[in-house]
């Protein structure tokens, strides 16, 4: 019994150390993806960085409670989605502030294109397409936008999106279908 008591602190310390290492590897693996999703959702670099920090801070605090029922990425994405929702709600309450004060506009966001071997004309066309999708995404409801971004930017499976958003798979499908239909219509009109 005495041996157990003597060993216990060391075991706990080792477990903590292992958990810390695990968490560090989780941060290294998923940070960029979480940031990207938040950036696409908010179009605000500073806000996306802050929310990413908050997301990992929250995840670190609750890391011991993470039982691996879903993947770490889905779990982190769920935290990020909730933080983004909270932030949006808080900003809407602070009605005297401009809600998208630091968000870049659609044209500025469309300037970012991978440096590939494209002609100037192709680059311009691609930029135009990206701007149109941004405009279309802007018109989507919060849920539709989240589901659309998770599916077509993060390339998550429907099951993963359902886990991350807390919606049923059927509801995810429905939101996705509507979002896609909207984007298609908007692209077709151009």
């Amino acid at each position: 019994m005495a041996a157990c008591t003597a060993l216990e602190p060391m075991t706990k310390a080792t477990a903590d150390q292992l958990a810390e290492q695990d968490f560090e590897s989780v941060v290294a693996t998923h940070r960029a993806q979480i940031f990207r999703f938040l950036l696409a959702s908010t179009r605000d670099v500073d806000l996306a960085e802050t929310l990413t920090q908050d997301c990992f801070l929250k995840a670190h605090r609750n890391w011991s409670g993470f039982r691996g029922e879903s993947s770490a990425m889905t779990w982190l994405m769920r935290i990020a989605i909730n933080l983004q929702k909270d932030n949006w709600r808080n900003r809407r309450l602070q009605f005297w502030r401009q809600t998208r004060a630091n968000a870049v506009d659609v044209d500025e966001a469309s300037d970012w294109l991978p440096s590939g071997e494209r002609s100037a004309e192709q680059q311009m066309l691609a930029r135009e397409q990206v701007a149109n999708v941004w405009r279309s995404v802007d018109k989507l409801s919060g849920r539709q936008r989240t589901v659309f971004l998770l599916r077509f930017v993060e390339e998550l499976e429907l099951k993963e999106i359902a886990d991350a958003t807390g919606l049923s798979e059927g509801t995810v499908k429905a939101h996705l279908s509507r979002a896609l239909s909207r984007v298609r219509t908007d692209l077709g009109e151009k």
Partner: protein, 143 residues
Amino acid sequence: MERNDEMLVRGSQVPEPDELDLKTREAIGNFKASVHAWSDAMVSRPRKEPQQAARKTWRLTPGWVLGCFVFVGAVGGGLYQNHHQQELARIAAVREAEQQRQIAAERARQEEDLLAKVDSDISREVPSAMEPLAALMTDEESK
């Protein structure tokens, strides 16, 4: 809510990204590539923001300090002025009351003197009321 969800689900078909029509697929593909490029650029950029923010804070600090001084000065000056005026008014009231009291005391003293003078002027020596009777009694007793 459940009913809405059911209504939403009914008839919704979601094509895989590869199954989209060419135009949509191309647009969404470019959109995805653009978001990735933007995000990658932002992740790998040198982080100057905290320094800039700190510098901005330092730039703002003297303004705030000066503003606070001016505000405190204005409010403090106003309060001091108000207090000073109240104090002056109080002193003036005390002086006024003291003056009134002195005047009243002087008047009372003068009236008293006057009454005393009148008393002394008009008062005469009168015989004692019992003196004649006393004289009579003495005569009868001698008889």
